[in-house]
C-alpha cells in the first residue's frame, strides 16, 4: 500500500465524536470511586471515635497529606497521557506532600518521647493498612487505566505508575477515616509503602495496556 493511498483512507475516515480524555478520566474515577466506597462500607467504615479524632491535628494531617499527593499525581497522569507532555513544573508539586509529611515527622519526634517512637511507627494496623489501601485503589485504578487507553503516553509504564499512585492517594483519603493510627511516624512509613504497591501495579498495567 502506498502512503498516498493510506492518506486517502485516513482522510475519508469520518470525524468521530471528539474524545475528551479529561472527561473520560473524570467519569472513570467517579465510577471507580463508587466501587471503592462500596468496599470501604463493607470492610471498614469510619472509626468509632471519629468525632473526637477530627479535632486533632494528627488525624486531619492525614487527609491534607493524602490530598496534597493525590491531586498533583492525578493531574500529572492526565498530562502524561498526551504525547507532547511537558510535565516538569507539575512534577515539582509532588514534593509538597513529601515536605508536609517530613515536617509532621519532625514535629512528632520532638513532641513524643523517644521510647514511644517505635510503638507509634508500628501502630495497630500496619498490615491491614498495606492491604486495604491497594484494595480501595483497585477499582479506581482499573477504571483509570481503561480511560487512559484513549491517550497516547510517551512513557506508558510511568504513566501507569502515576495513575496507581494517584488512586492510592484517593484511597488513602478514604482509609484515613478508618485507620486508628494517626501518628505521622505511622503515616510516613506505611502509607507510602502502600502507595508504592499501587504504583508498581499501575506501572505493570500501563506497560501492558497503555502502549500504542
Amino acid at each position: 500500500m502506498r502512503t498516498s493511498e493510506l492518506i486517502a483512507v485516513l482522510a475519508a475516515d469520518p470525524v468521530p465524536e471528539p474524545i475528551r480524555i479529561g472527561r473520560r478520566v473524570a467519569a472513570a474515577l467517579a465510577i471507580g470511586f463508587i466501587g471503592s466506597l462500596a468496599i470501604y462500607a463493607l470492610l471498614m467504615g469510619p472509626r468509632p471515635d471519629i468525632a473526637e479524632a477530627a479535632r486533632t491535628v494528627r488525624f486531619n494531617l492525614k487527609f491534607v497529606d493524602a490530598f496534597a499527593f493525590a491531586l498533583p499525581s492525578l493531574l500529572l497522569t492526565l498530562r502524561l497521557a498526551r504525547p507532547d507532555a511537558k510535565p516538569q513544573a507539575l512534577a515539582l508539586w509532588l514534593i509538597a506532600p513529601l515536605i508536609l509529611l517530613a515536617a509532621g515527622v519532625v514535629v512528632e519526634l520532638l513532641v513524643v518521647p523517644s521510647d514511644q517512637w517505635l510503638a507509634r511507627l508500628v501502630g495497630h494496623h500496619s498490615m491491614f493498612c498495606m492491604r486495604m489501601i491497594p484494595l480501595l485503589a483497585a477499582p479506581m485504578l482499573a477504571a483509570l487505566i481503561v480511560a487512559l487507553r484513549a491517550g497516547a503516553p510517551m512513557h506508558p509504564a510511568l504513566t501507569g505508575a502515576l495513575a496507581g499512585a494517584a488512586t492510592a492517594g484517593i484511597a488513602a483519603l478514604l482509609y484515613a477515616s478508618h485507620c486508628p493510627d494517626d501518628s505521622p511516624l505511622f503515616v510516613a512509613t506505611w502509607y507510602p509503602l502502600a502507595t508504592l504497591i499501587c504504583a508498581a501495579v499501575g506501572a505493570l498495567a500501563g506497560w501492558r495496556f497503555l502502549a500504542w
Binding site: 500500500m1 502506498r2 502512503t3 498516498s4 493511498e5 493510506l6 492518506i7 486517502a8 483512507v9 485516513l10 482522510a11 475519508a12 475516515d13 469520518p14 470525524v15 468521530p16 471528539p18 474524545i19 475528551r20 480524555i21 497521557a81 498526551r82 504525547p83 507532547d84 484513549a150 491517550g151 497516547a152 510517551m154 502502549a211 500504542w212
Partner: protein
C-alpha cells in the same frame, strides 16, 4: 489546518497528512541512516506514524502548536520501527521544522507492512479500505457498490483503521 480537519474538512486534512508525511519521511530517513538500518522500512515507519496521528488526533490540545505534537508521535513510532529491526536506538534529534520543507518522494513500496495488515482484516473491512485507497472511490460510491448504507461504511472504515493500529502494535511485540 488541523482544526479544520477535526471539524471535518476532508481536503484540508488530506493536505495536512501529506505535509506531515513528507516531514516524517525525511525524519525517518535520517534516523534510519544514523542507525545504519537501510531505507527498506522507512515507508512503513511513515505509514505507521500517519495512522497513529490519525487514531490519536484527539490527544492534540488545540491550544498548543501542532508540530511538537506530531514530532513526538513520529519520534515514538520511528524509534519503535528501529527497535523492531533489532537495531540500536537512534535518536532523531533534528528539529521537526527542518523537515517541513523537504520535498521527498516516497519509495514505491509494494509489499509494505500496511498491505500485509490490511490483508489480515475481515473481508468487508478489507474491501472498503481497498475501495477507498486503491480505487480512490468516495464513501458514497463504496457504499453504493457494496449496497451498504454510508453510515455503515463509515463505521466499518473506522473500525478497520482501529484494528489496523492494534495489529501494527501486536507486530511490534
Amino acid at each position: 489546518m488541523m482544526r479544520a480537519s477535526i471539524a471535518g474538512d476532508e481536503g484540508a486534512y488530506r493536505r495536512l497528512l501529506e505535509d506531515i508525511s513528507r516531514s516524517v519521511r525525511a525524519m525517518a530517513r535520517a534516523a534510519f541512516a544514523r542507525a545504519r538500518a537501510g531505507d527498506a522500512d522507512v515507508e512503513d515507519a511513515v505509514q505507521e506514524t500517519l495512522l497513529a496521528i490519525h487514531l490519536k488526533r484527539h490527544t492534540w490540545d488545540a491550544a498548543q502548536p501542532l508540530a511538537p505534537w506530531a514530532y513526538a508521535i513520529a519520534r515514538h513510532k520511528i524509534v519503535d520501527a528501529l527497535r523492531r529491526r533489532g537495531r540500536q536506538r537512534a535518536e532523531p534529534l533534528e528539529d521537526f521544522q527542518e523537515f517541513l520543507a523537504a520535498p521527498e518522494a516516497e519509495d514505491p513500496h509494494a509489499l509494505s507492512d500496511a498491505q500485509r495488515l490490511v490483508d489480515g482484516l475481515g473481508p468487508r473491512q478489507r474491501e472498503i479500505v481497498r475501495s477507498i485507497s486503491l480505487e480512490g472511490q468516495s464513501i458514497a460510491a463504496t457504499a453504493a457498490r457494496l449496497s451498504m448504507s454510508e453510515v455503515a461504511v463509515r463505521v466499518a472504515l473506522h473500525r478497520a483503521l482501529k484494528s489496523l493500529g492494534a495489529a501494527w502494535r501486536r507486530s511490534i511485540a
